[in-house]
């Protein structure tokens, strides 16, 4: 499984790099697959409602009404038909690539099992929506789809009379059949939408809308394709003739030809095995989890920044349970916590300047505590070679994770901005490189955004204004892009090697616990920062 994942990941990174260059990380369509899936759903829904105005349910009238809107009203209804068709196909493409990408980046195990498992029925519902739609056109392709679909259903020992018999001779099919199909073609997509809502329930700030520019470009592109290659019918159904030659929609119907070569039992077996395996994948094997974040009420002032920043909705604010004079306190749902540490980076108490006897913060990771982080930073800084000394805080999912001498973190947003201030003001290094995942493929989804916003002073906790920005580098590279990381790091080293930025090396001030100094410790906020 791991080898397949690595190969796929390499493939995705090769594809995404040129997209990143052309579109930029924020607009990269490969990083917006879920949002584009939603976007195409709405195109399909709106165009479908429009087409329903023209559609007539009847054996003869169904085909005639579709032909009427395709040819006589091509400039609006015909275009809508093509939009309906191609946006549906694009939904399948988005779904397949989305699934593969989540697998490639290992974003489906652990607490993410919920989104993965609730996504599995969406595959079935999307295909059921599309296939019922093809029946409605009642052209030769519809005849083929009706025959093969019903033959597949007849293989199951459920129905007394073969359903397929309705589609091999005239006189057995009534117009009510189209009423039933219209009902199914509306009901199944509604279930699909409901399933999509459940799919994103546990995701904090889910991307259900692509960036506006990407949405506009996608809409323009699909309209352009609709005009260039309008979706048309494949001739009226003649039940006396077998629909032996059809232009298949290979996105929705790739298994249909297999019923001829494999047999229907094998196709059912394949589908059953596919859904069972894909449904169990989050546990094949299960993700090993570090201990979840823990709240230390003595250092929590209920500011809610951790709850705001958590990408997994694992933290909620509840009424205070101790005697502190704050309204709320953070509460961690251990079953949702992935131990990314973003909450620790968001906590205003997470200041390495603090001089408490044992460095504590409001919310901490037992396996990657703030105290351990400070110690690792100090150790790594002490081992830095001669000037320019660059200390790298690296995401363990990014391109710098395996580099020697870096301080690896579950996510770079785990590093509180005050840690950067601490490193530079204490002259532990001449520069700090914060090396995260690729911008468009952040493992913890929001780590890149939160880090940038904190450093830019747009999100609490801010990186203090006194910190010289020219001595900080943000490097976003994927796990396989180690050379790119080395190149960007070398550029950064060259930049800070210039004399104006080379601060004279000073002796770092010892960190003396505050309790030793005055016997007190602040419950929150970086109250005991040492000015540089």
């Amino acid at each position: 499984m791991g080898t397949i994942r690595r190969v796929l990941r390499r493939g995705f990174e090769l594809i995404e790099r040129p997209f990143d260059r052309l579109f930029g990380p924020a607009l990269n369509p490969v990083a917006q697959l879920g949002a584009l899936g939603f976007f195409f759903f709405w195109i399909v829904a709106v165009s479908g409602i429009y087409l329903f105005i023209f559609f007539d349910t009847g054996i003869e009238r169904a085909y005639q009404s579709v032909e009427h809107l395709t040819t006589d009203h091509w400039f609006h209804a015909g275009v809508m038909r093509s939009l309906h068709r191609y946006a549906s196909d694009l939904m399948v493409v988005m779904l397949v690539v989305h699934v593969l990408r989540q697998f490639a980046y290992d974003q489906y195990r652990g607490v993410r099992w919920f989104s993965w498992v609730t996504g599995v029925p969406l595959i079935f519902l999307l295909y059921a929506s599309g296939i019922t739609g093809y029946w409605l056109v009642w052209d030769r392709l519809a005849h083929y789809v009706a025959l093969v679909s019903s033959e597949l259903l007849d293989w199951l020992p459920i129905f007394g009379e073969p359903i397929a018999r309705n589609f091999i001779s005239t006189g057995t099919l009534t117009s009510r059949f189209f009423t039933l199909m219209v009902f199914m073609h509306i009901a199944v997509p509604l279930f699909l939408l409901f399933g999509m809502w459940i799919h994103i329930l546990r995701i904090s700030r889910p991307k259900v809308n692509p960036p506006r520019l990407l949405a506009v470009l996608s809409l323009l592109a699909v309209v352009g394709v609709a005009l260039w290659k309008p979706a048309v019918s494949q001739g009226h159904v003649d039940l006396a003739r077998a629909p032996v030659e059809v232009g298949l929609d290979w996105f929705y119907l790739p298994l249909y030809p297999l019923t001829d070569s494999w047999g229907k039992g094998a196709v059912w077996g394949f589908l059953g095995a596919f859904f069972v395996i894909i449904g169990m994948m989050p546990w094949l094997p299960p993700l090993r989890r570090a201990k979840p974040a823990e709240v230390d009420l003595a250092h929590c002032n209920g500011c809610a920044r951790c709850a705001e920043d958590c990408p997994y909705e694992a933290i909620r604010m509840v009424p205070r349970t101790d005697s502190m004079a704050f309204l709320t306190e953070a509460q961690v749902n251990a079953s949702l916590c992935v131990s990314c540490g973003i909450c620790m980076g968001a906590c205003p108490s997470s200041s390495p300047f603090r001089r408490t006897e044992e460095l504590r913060t409001g919310i901490d990771l037992p396996d990657h505590s703030l105290k351990a982080l400070r110690e690792r930073a100090l150790a790594a800084a002490a081992a830095l070679p001669e000037a320019p000394r660059v200390l790298t805080l690296a995401c363990e999912h990014g391109g710098a994770a395996q580099q020697p001498g870096v301080v690896a973190l579950p996510c770079v947003a785990m590093a509180p901005p005050s840690l950067i201030d601490f490193i530079l003001s204490r002259d532990l290094a001449d520069g700090v490189a914060v090396a995260g995942c690729a911008e468009s493929a952040c493992y913890h989804r929001l780590g890149v955004d939160w880090t940038r916003q904190r450093f830019a002073g747009e999100r609490d906790p801010y990186l203090r204004a006194r910190v010289p920005r020219e001595r900080i580098a943000l490097i976003w590279t994927s796990a396989l892009a180690t050379r790119q990381f080395e190149r960007e790091l070398a550029d950064f080293r060259a930049r800070i090697a210039a004399p104006p930025h080379m601060a004279p090396r000073r002796q770092a001030a010892p960190i003396v616990p505050a309790s030793v100094q005055n016997g007190t410790s602040a419950p929150a906020a970086a109250a005991e920062e040492v000015p540089s």
Partner: protein
Amino acid sequence: MITPLRICGQLVVIAALFATVAVFADWPVYRQTPPGTGIVMLSFVHGADRRAECRRLSPEEIAKLPPNMRRAQDCPRGRRPLYVELDVGDQVAYRAALPPTGIAGDGPSRVYQRFVLPAGQYDVAVRMRDTPRPEGFDHERMGRVALGPDQMFVIDFRSESGGFVFR
């Protein structure tokens, strides 16, 4: 820096990707059967006679039954298998004993078989046995069929029409 030229480039790339999707929306064409062939479909649903005749219960047997379930006859639910043969030309294309459907075996038997044949003239004979008779057939029909390319020739059975129907 977002420039009009860059946006145009982005649009071209997206449109090219979408156009590729549109191409595979109905291409390549799939052909289910070889050119110059037609399909003979043997498909019908019919229930054979019951597995055994109804038997008149003796007064003792009736007395043993609960008062609300007493009846004069005992009629087994299960049906016999349906025996069907189809000859196309001088060859046996299909020969099967079709079991009844249903958990209790009391439903009708069903058949849905397709035969892909080169287009041409064929002598077709279809026979069916649905009674306890040990040999011979209860329903039979023969005919000459001109099977055209891609034609679907259906052999059905409708008891209300008197037996086998060729369409």
